[in-house]
């Protein structure tokens, strides 16, 4: 609760930073504030407190995911600061929106009432709609924003319809009450419809096939830093909310819908990875890659057992680390070489060895090669699915992982084995150090996964 209040207050402060002209303070204040809020979260660890008529509960699950989202936001804000001048017209407002978005994430991961879930999703989404259109004079950015908004509104309709039907079937928005009523009365048509519509709404938010259509266009058009934000913080929060909802409300009747999610997961992994192959733009490739990763994470939602929470947390951390750094590298390449095809990574290993190193680590992690965090992310998710007997889903996942190696390695191979005459890439100070830090964390988690995996 304190965490949520401080995040919102931080957003307001950042917003006023733009109006009252203390822009230079916005970044330091946000960073400090996010660290402070994380500490509040750590302080509340194990307290498992619920607030205000059980609207939200700060259990360890909520705190862990809040901290992951805040860490992602912190990185995004830092990178945003590196690449954008404080004097830019929307600097403070953009930071404020990111902070509001993460407040929405905190609501999404801690809800125990469907109203809160809905509000959290809307706060996050609305911030993202605007952030996607941050480059107002860029037609692609406009298109991205508008498409995201239209499709998001469309999916929100299903989400609300689902909530309404569940209310009709159980007479409550509270997750405990819903689970209790469903336990007594069993699944009837209305509740099942509500469940499925909620699932559809959330599948849209996590960009699973066949609700992935918005993702490539939106991710490509949005400013790259915003894309990184959407693909990491937005996706992690959506998954945390998805899993939390199903753990809290629908876990006992999981036999009914497990196969539905499993099928969606399998199609998502395959389609995402296969479509990624053909992309020439690395940024768009990463958009498809994020679709594929949604498929992997859906496996954990599907299994819905005791280890799902931990495995999806680890996956989120691994994915966030690798994804943010790969989007950032794409951005650096875009700015230096004016394009982001695989050829633009040529010779990166010679000109900017550290950036090439970070690229290699993040791509290895995304494709799930051992000794990186991504490997254990996949390992945990897959092994819990196997232990529940979903071998076919894991088989599909492994096959699609193999497919993914093909496109993840393309920029890495270009960076190391091809030559270039282009000059050394330049980038704002601090970018490289932060990228190296992210890579080291990825490797550290790949060697010592126990730090995070067993935490919740």
């Amino acid at each position: 609760m304190n965490l949520l209040i401080s995040l919102t207050a931080l957003g307001v402060v950042a917003m006023f930073g733009g109006i009252l002209k203390f822009r230079s303070m916005v970044m330091p204040l946000s960073v400090l504030g996010l660290i402070g809020a994380s500490l509040l979260g750590v302080y509340a660890w194990n307290t498992n407190q619920s607030f205000l008529n059980d609207m939200m509960r700060m259990d360890n699950y909520a705190i862990a995911f809040s901290i992951v989202c805040m860490a992602g936001t912190l990185l995004t804000i830092l990178f945003f600061h590196f690449f954008h001048s404080e004097n830019e017209i929307h600097y403070a407002e953009a930071v404020a929106l990111m902070l509001f978005a993460v407040a929405g994430c905190a609501v999404m991961v801690s809800f125990t009432n469907l109203l809160m879930l809905f509000l959290g999703i809307e706060i996050l989404s609305l911030s993202l709609y605007v952030l996607a259109g941050l480059r107002k004079k860029d037609l692609l950015s406009n298109e991205s924003s508008l498409k995201y908004f239209l499709m998001g509104a469309f999916s929100t309709g299903f989400l609300l319809f689902g909530i309404a039907l569940l209310y009709g079937a159980t007479g409550s928005f509270a997750t405990t009450q819903i689970a209790y009523q469903l336990g007594i009365a069993g699944m009837n048509g209305m509740a099942a419809m509500g469940l499925l519509l909620l699932m559809i709404g959330l599948l849209f938010k996590v960009a699973a096939v066949p609700f992935q259509f918005w993702t490539p266009d939106v991710y490509q058009g949005a400013p790259t830093i915003v894309t990184a934000f959407m693909a990491t913080v937005g996706k992690v929060a959506a998954f945390a909310a998805f899993l939390r909802l199903f753990q809290l409300c629908f876990a006992p009747s999981k036999e009914g819908y497990q196969l539905v999610i499993g099928t969606v997961a399998a199609i998502t992994m395959l389609a995402g990875n296969i479509m990624a192959i053909y992309q020439s733009s690395t940024k768009r490739m990463l958009a498809y890659s994020s679709i594929a990763h949604a498929g992997y994470m859906l496996i954990a939602v599907m299994t819905l057992n005791a280890s799902s929470n931990g495995s999806i947390l680890f996956y989120s951390v691994a994915y966030t680390l690798a994804s943010i750094s790969s989007f950032l590298i794409v951005m650096v390449v875009q700015q230096n070489r004016n394009n982001d095809t695989a050829d633009d990574f040529n010779g990166l290993g010679k000109t900017n060895p550290w950036i090439a190193f970070a690229l290699a680590v993040s791509m290895l992690s995304l494709s799930g090669i051992p000794a990186t965090a991504g490997f254990f992310g996949k390992f945990y998710v897959f092994s819990s699915a196997v232990s529940d007997g979903f071998i076919w889903v894991v088989a599909v996942a492994v096959i699609s992982s193999f497919i993914s190696i093909y496109y993840y390695f393309r920029p890495v191979i270009a960076a190391y084995s091809k030559q270039t005459h282009d000059p050394v890439m330049t980038m704002p100070a601090g970018t490289q150090a932060l990228l190296i830090l992210l890579s080291l964390l990825t490797i550290l988690l790949g060697i010592l996964p126990g730090f995070i995996a067993g935490i919740i």
Partner: protein, 182 residues
């Protein structure tokens, strides 16, 4: 009596909703939408005994939002000719998909054995009154109520960003864009 009134209002509402889509002229569409909102509000006020929600619905949706819609449509000078023609195949497939969605939802809910659905809060006459609503909103639902304010704050900041003028050349994509915007 109440049942037949509900069916009448519901029919009118659905009819206008269909007309929103069917109308060629965008201005007509908007006006049909206003009528649809009136239908919904009538439902709130007369059937569900929730006059406050009904009136707010009229004020906010039919009043404020729809007027805004009309302004935009008129400013952009949209009319029947401006609409993009969809191919017939597209329309047929769309109608089929939408129709089956409707059928599935209706079918699933229709089959529910209403006696087994428990936990319905009894709708005593006062449930929709301002007093009860205010009480519930400021006690049980205070947190969502407050969190909703964050949502509005986001909307305001977003509006500010979108509305402020920017002196930049028009571009497509970020590829050949300068590093710094200002």
């Amino acid at each position: 009596m109440l049942t037949s009134a509900f069916y009448f209002i519901a029919f009118v509402t659905v009819f206008f909703a269909v007309m929103v889509i069917a109308a060629k002229n965008p201005v007509h569409s908007v006006l049909y939408l206003v009528l649809t909102f009136f239908g919904i509000s009538a439902n709130y006020i007369f059937i569900l005994d929730a006059p406050f929600v009904g009136i707010v619905n009229i004020i906010v949706y039919a009043g404020a939002i729809m007027v805004l819609f009309l302004f935009v449509i008129m400013l952009m000078n949209l009319n029947a000719e401006a609409e993009h023609r969809k191919s017939n195949a597209f329309l047929i497939v769309g109608a089929f998909a939408g129709g089956s969605l409707l059928l599935i939802v209706v079918d699933a809910i229709r089959k529910v054995d209403w006696k087994s659905v428990s936990g319905q809060e009894s709708s005593g006459g006062a449930i929709g009154s301002i007093k009860v609503l205010g009480k519930v909103l400021y006690t049980d639902y205070i947190l969502p109520f407050e969190v909703a304010s964050v949502l509005f704050l986001v909307a305001i900041v977003g509006a500010v960003i979108l509305a402020r003028k920017e002196k930049l050349p028009l571009t497509v994509g970020q590829i050949s864009h300068p590093v710094s915007e200002s």
